[in-house]
């Protein structure tokens, strides 16, 4: 069995999330089974161009496998140039995902920019298994309104009893919501001493973690960060994704804040 040979998945739907981001829905060919947990990722192949790691943005509690692709380099460009019916290679799921068994019942989720795609998997999982969780809040910020992902889902989250705060860095005439940092959304959340799931730029992660520890009594080992690294094999052998002694693709990409704060 060759771990490097991908499964094949057909693109069954493409939703435009923002000018350079698509939400792609995939169906694995040959009826392959694919179980995963929120926070895991796959290695996506465009044959002839190569492979890159993409977080799974769908929840395992629903049928469709979904990936959120943003134009960044050669391979993501290749994926963005694909059409419905085209076939991509998929390897995985890889990574540790969010440790749902260890996390507390009260959860604060904070996302910045394209990192929010990783967190959507956890959010929709919580929506589908709402009774297993306590107080849940989402704080999400993007550069401008055009850059906000999954806008059509916020209402559904709120209806499921999740506190949702959205902000942008730069507003425009049509934007009536918050302008400012993600941390500014957190004041109104009444969650203390819970678990957190954060994904975004290092500056944002540090600011959110600091606020959680200082003002919301979170412990640094209950703050989970999804780390981004250059990856090639996804199975802890090529050594590209090392963060200190850990492989982001094996012992990560979800790390507790204490493990990664020196490299952020």
């Amino acid at each position: 069995m060759n771990e490097y040979i991908p499964m094949q998945a057909e693109i069954v739907d493409i939703d435009v999330e923002s000018p350079n981001t698509y939400l792609i829905s995939l169906k694995l060919l040959d009826d392959m089974d694919f179980g995963y947990t929120p926070g895991q990722f796959v290695m996506v192949s465009v044959m002839g161009l190569g492979e890159c790691p993409i977080s799974i943005t769908s929840t395992p509690t629903r049928h469709m496998l979904q990936l959120c692709i943003r134009r960044a380099g050669r391979i993501t460009n290749g994926i963005m140039d694909s059409r419905i019916g085209d076939v991509l290679g998929i390897r995985g799921p890889y990574g540790n995902g969010f440790p749902l068994n260890e996390m507390k019942k009260d959860i604060l989720i904070a996302g910045g920019g394209s990192g929010f795609a990783t967190l959507r998997s956890l959010i929709n999982y919580i929506v589908d298994r709402r009774i297993e969780f306590g107080k849940v809040a989402v704080a999400y910020g993007a550069r401008t309104r055009q850059d906000l992902y999954f806008m059509q889902e916020y209402k559904g989250w709120q209806q499921a009893g999740i506190d949702v705060g959205i902000t942008v860095d730069i507003g425009d005439e049509s934007w009536k919501g918050n302008i400012g940092l993600v941390t500014s959304l957190m004041d109104k959340f009444e969650i203390y001493g819970g678990s957190a799931a954060i994904c975004g730029p290092p500056v944002m992660i540090n600011a959110v973690a600091a606020k959680l520890m200082k003002e919301k009594s979170f412990d640094h080992s209950d703050i989970y960060v999804s780390m981004e690294r250059h990856m090639k094999c996804g199975v802890g052998k090529c050594e590209h994704c090392m963060i200190g002694p850990y492989h982001a693709c094996q012992e990560g990409p979800v790390f507790t804040y204490d493990k990664v704060k020196t490299v952020l």
């Binding site: 771990e3 044959m47 090529c238």
Partner: protein, 329 residues
């Protein structure tokens, strides 16, 4: 099981083995020792070849699979693996194999490596004449073989003392018993004596140990070392333990996905598509290489990630002292 292979029986034994599988052995090319496919040339055991034999387990370049596009989907084809006997792997390189076995054999297993590994018979060779740059004994990896082998050869006066270290090794000796004699007590003692002497020679070379290197790494001025590094990548390409690889696709719409050697010494190794680089300076990257060898690999595998072969120093373009880690210039 131990036996003596008389000097004049070595080539006939190898010829016999070469009928069944590819024999790789050290020979002279351009008057230098190299490992390559043996086709009857005289063998060269004076020096351990500069390029380590781990290239037969971690090739510089190998095809992971071929892809062929047909009506929207792909078929993937793999290449068959061939059986090999690699003769003349020195204890330091054997230790490197042991480290690689633990890294690639750890879950999730790398079946490519393991397939190659299982198709490879190892006839290791003890070092009776270590070089100036050899520091194996300080790191527990030589000059006598300490790790798994199929056969272990030690050159003594009357020929080659051969010891079997695995069922496959025992089979090799018993299937080809016509080449071997019983090993005498005196010959075994001669081997022990030679190995003891070799160990003393290595121990008399500069003093190094896992803990000493950890201390040196903490004290080194990495930014100064980084300024001197000429980014040739030699240390990472020549190190028998280094195994980082890159995966590239060659060919559209049909082609092959190839795995080839990579080097953490280049900034592109850890740089993300956004341009952010967790190891931005050359000093940080060198530091990371050393930490991997002396901290992370021992943590993961229980074995040091450096086998003391001294090759990195022999190819360093900036002539940095790889043990003292002092900025020379």
């Amino acid at each position: 099981m131990k036996a003596l292979l008389p000097r004049d029986k070595l080539l006939p034994f190898l010829t016999e083995m070469s009928h069944k599988l590819e024999v790789v052995a050290p020979v002279l090319a351009n008057e230098e020792e190299v490992f390559c496919t043996w086709t009857g040339q005289p063998l060269a055991f004076d020096e351990n070849p500069l390029n380590p034999p781990t290239e037969f387990l971690i090739p510089h370049r190998e095809t992971l699979f071929r892809y062929v596009q047909e009506s929207g989907r792909y078929t993937f084809e793999e290449e068959p693996q061939k059986s090999r006997l690699v003769l003349g792997i020195r204890p330091c390189d054997l230790r490197a194999v042991a480290v690689l076995d633990r890294i690639f054999g750890a879950y999730p297993r790398d079946s490519h490596y393991l397939h190659r590994r299982r198709s490879t018979l190892i006839a290791a060779m003890n070092c009776t004449r270590p070089k100036e740059s050899c520091l194996c004994a300080h790191l527990g990896s030589g000059p006598e073989a300490k790790d798994e082998y199929d056969l272990l050869i030690t050159e003594i006066g009357s020929g080659y003392l051969v010891e079997a270290g695995s069922p496959a090794g025992i089979l090799m000796l018993s299937d080809h018993s016509e080449f071997f004699l019983n090993a005498t007590e005196a010959q075994l003692m001669e081997k022990d004596q030679l190995m003891k002497q070799a160990e003393e020679v290595v121990k008399s070379h500069s003093d190094v140990s896992l803990q000493k290197m950890r201390d040196t790494i903490k004290m080194a001025d990495w930014e100064s070392l980084g300024r001197e590094c000429l980014s040739c990548g030699g240390c990472t390409f020549i190190c028998p333990v280094c195994h980082c690889f890159n995966i590239v696709d060659l060919g559209v719409p049909d082609g092959e996905r190839v795995r080839c050697k990579d080097t953490c010494i280049l900034s592109g190794f850890s740089r993300m598509t956004s341009g952010t680089n967790p190891r931005r300076t050359q000093g940080e990257r060198m530091h990371n290489w050393y930490l991997d060898k002396f901290e992370y690999i021992p943590q993961k595998t229980g074995l040091p990630g450096c086998v003391g072969c001294g090759r990195c120093g022999r190819v360093c373009l900036a002539e940095i002292d790889r043990w003292k880690l002092e900025a020379v210039r």
